[in-house]
Symmetry: C2
Subunit: 254 residues, 2 copies
């Protein structure tokens, strides 16, 4: 239980285009600079390259905003083409004020701009959308990793989200496979036999956050390999990061 955790960035990946074999490229990157990913490890990969590999990129120049998007964009001081994309990727607006547009995405994540952004995307007006189903993306990347290196590391797809009450973004999991995304502690006791206050620990989010520290956002380091986390590794792909989505009826802030 006292194995140290190690997290190293995966470097040297090419610019990722639609159809790129992301799992194989990640396996090659890992093996080029250290041990290949193994069972019990986890590969944490940024949403940005997953979206690029899946063709979830758009050019703002090709977007025709509807009146609703134009009006909202004007009120928020945003690009109407971006707002059009955000609305088309969303099922509900959570907040739209003071220049901030927070939505619930079609996939069920609550975040600013439906996770759409243009950093690290080629072209002056290119943006990425979130993967349609990032848990499915994680399962597919895991399969590709297995084909490339003969092992089944867990896969976490991470994106940087802002939070209420706290300044700054942290990486969270929007998809995963082969990891206990949520470690349920209900009913367990502490070292003194008392009741534990925590009900569940969002393991996948913590792993995404820790892995982000190993990367450099302005470089081509879209992924990291974590070892020493086998407590939460599973052979099965499991329920994915969807387990972390709080149901609307249990939520006090939407």
């Amino acid at each position: 239980m006292t194995t140290p955790i190690k997290i190293r960035p995966l470097t040297g990946l090419p610019e990722i285009a639609e159809g790129a074999p992301l799992g194989r490229l990640l396996a090659e990157s890992a093996a080029a600079a250290g041990p290949a990913p193994a069972d019990g490890d986890a590969v944490v990969v940024s949403q940005k390259v997953v979206s690029k590999a899946e063709g979830r990129t758009r050019s703002l120049a090709a977007v025709e905003p509807r009146a609703e998007a134009t009006e909202l964009a004007e009120r928020l001081g945003k690009d109407p083409r971006l707002v059009e994309l955000v609305l088309s990727e969303s099922q509900r607006i959570v907040r739209a004020e003071r220049g901030v547009l927070i939505v619930e995405t079609a996939g069920g994540w609550i975040c600013a701009n439906a996770g759409i952004d243009g950093s690290n995307v080629p072209g002056t007006d290119g943006v990425t959308l979130l993967p349609v189903d990032a848990d499915a993306s994680a399962r597919r990347i895991r399969s590709e990793l297995e084909a490339a290196c003969g092992a089944r590391p867990a896969v976490v797809i991470a994106d940087s989200f802002g939070r209420p009450w706290r300044v700054g973004q942290v990486d969270v999991a929007i998809g995963c496979a082969g990891l206990v995304a949520l470690d349920d502690w209900r009913g367990r006791t502490d070292a003194l036999g008392g009741e534990l206050a925590a009900t569940a620990i969002a393991i996948a989010d913590q792993l995404a956050a820790g892995a982000d520290l190993a990367r450099v956002k302005d470089s081509r380091m879209p992924a990291a390999l974590a070892t020493g986390i086998s407590r939460w590794w599973t052979a099965d792909d499991g329920a994915g990061a969807r387990a972390i989505q709080r149901a609307a009826e249990d939520d006090l802030f939407r």
Copy 2:
């Protein structure tokens, strides 16, 4: 820039009582199982033991709830003595419904029950309060570490907080010293020369989250040592975790 991050739990600490020399105990624990903490490293320590060392423990049996606390407790189905403590540690109630009491603490953190809980506290009705000023706590522990091991690792004080929209808790920083708590990316460009979407990364929160993965909550492992994070280490104690508190006027969710 590609140094791996390593995080190992600090084990073998005794039960912490008021006045315990926490910094020295952490230094001894680290040195007993590996290299002593060095400049450029960070020691992440749970709020619980910091509060115990500072005498921030209370017995619910000694709490006399006021009428306001009794009424609120009845409405929420909580122990009126706990609610009394929560209110006495708070400057504002953010949400009080469906059995959940979320407040802004006197120290400016927004969390459930003002961070008060009874897990891993001796006695059947013992609870810990958050440190009065966890940044000051971090500075003091850092000084004690320096006295014990001759180096100045950063210190992060972590607690497990729930989040809107997402199930499960993650560890966040409520205090730190010697760490860039918030890494400001405004004005920097991405690998392709484009604008970065992120404005600031909450480094201290990500480190708290990653370090929690190395600990086991039901064991006596109240701290972890992180290496490979010297990018964010500073010789000065710096502004602390307070930099992560979002001002009320910039917040859409309180």
